[in-house]
């Protein structure tokens, strides 16, 4: 459970940024391994790509694209916070990063299943 002193939007934005970073750190080695199959074992790669047509994988890809997008927008938010003149709209920026990421992930999901 999130302790009371952390229950505010900007701490949750920090949490989302941290979780998305850890998620991507776990994903990237697997991603590079699968890409390497194109050189080492093309037949296995084709088998894997066929497996990714599974609807459950499409939903997982939505999550993955969301993590990628939210990590990027969250990072841009932090760079703006630290290097641009301060704006009081910090919660708006955090919400905008999450909404933009959900939008991009949804577009990706729709194009993947359509």
């Amino acid at each position: 459970m999130i302790r009371p002193h952390r229950a505010h939007p900007l701490w949750l934005a920090f949490l989302l940024h941290r979780i998305s970073g850890l998620g991507l750190a776990l994903f990237l080695p697997a991603h590079f391994y699968v890409l390497s199959l194109a050189l080492t074992r093309p037949a296995s790669l084709d088998g894997f790509l066929h497996w990714t047509e599974n609807p459950l994988l499409k939903v997982s890809e939505f999550g993955l694209v969301f993590l990628l997008a939210v990590h990027m927008f969250g990072g841009l938010r932090l760079l703006a916070l630290e290097f641009l003149p301060w704006s009081p709209r910090q919660k708006t920026f955090a919400a905008a990063a999450a909404v933009a990421s959900a939008f991009i992930a949804s577009i990706f999901f729709i194009s993947a299943v359509a």
């Binding site: 302790r3 009371p4 002193h5 900007l10 701490w11 920090f14 916070l81 630290e82 290097f83 301060w86």
Partner: protein, 243 residues
């Protein structure tokens, strides 16, 4: 006919960090009542050995901060009505991130030592024989300094900060906020040493911008803004030195 007296269940931390525990008290509820009123009632009517700290009772001195239902608060200006949970219970504990002396009183030595370590001290450049320096209140640096200056040293931000919990060397929001107000003080002669201090191991670059400090600061200051200013200043000074 007077209404029947209502009581609140209040859990209060007793003892030190290692061996202490919460103790239950039934405190009469009043129409207009602060958390400090509740603590004082317990000390005056239920258990005279309760240790806590306060002085001014009007939000000036910064002595009475405690954790109230898990959030850091200045207790003299926090009304019970605003923080009472749905279950009608209050939990009052000593501030996070500071050693507990006894009950609700914390040892604030490290908090103040870190102000000094962060160069949150003024370095005068004039003597008493010099003319008083004119400061334009509208100048951009003075506006920045003014925004950070109303700190009452209550350590609410220090208790709200997860970076302080994770890294005992971190100076914390209050000390860095003070350093930022001095970076913008044109009369100060210690800027080089201050930039060294705020970019050291305990300095501004530890901040994760979770903004708990700004969320809970009772004077509505924004230490995250100040720390972001220090981060910018240390980075630009790096380029200044190289050029």
């Amino acid at each position: 006919m007077a209404a029947a007296q209502k009581y609140m269940q209040v859990s209060v931390w007793r003892g030190d960090e290692a061996t202490g525990a919460l103790e239950e008290f039934d405190v009469p509820a009043q129409e207009s009542q602060t958390i400090l009123d509740v603590v004082s009632w317990i000390q005056q009517n239920a258990d005279a050995t309760l240790a806590y700290r306060y002085a001014c009772r009007v939000g000036m001195c910064g002595s009475c901060a405690m954790m109230v239902n898990g959030k850091p608060r200045w207790t003299c200006r926090t009304h019970v009505k605003k923080v009472l949970g749905d279950n009608g219970r209050l939990t009052i504990e000593p501030l996070r991130n500071l050693p507990v002396i006894k009950d609700l009183a914390t040892d604030m030595t490290e908090f103040f030592d870190k102000w000094i370590a962060a160069e949150g001290v003024f370095h005068p450049t004039k003597t008493r024989y010099d003319e008083i320096e004119g400061i334009d209140p509208e100048s951009s640096v003075r506006v920045e300094a003014n925004a950070a200056i109303e700190c009452i040293n209550c350590a609410v931000c220090y208790a709200a900060c997860d970076v302080v919990s994770a890294n005992p060397d971190y100076f914390g929001p209050a000390a860095l906020n003070r350093a930022w107000s001095l970076v913008n003080d044109t009369r100060d002669g210690g800027q080089a040493a201050r930039l060294e201090a705020v970019s050291s191991n305990g300095g501004c670059h530890n901040c994760h911008s979770q903004q708990g400090c700004s969320t809970f600061c009772p004077n509505e200051l924004n230490p995250t803004l100040s720390i972001a200013g220090l981060k910018r200043e240390t980075v630009t000074s790096l380029f200044r030195r190289r050029s």
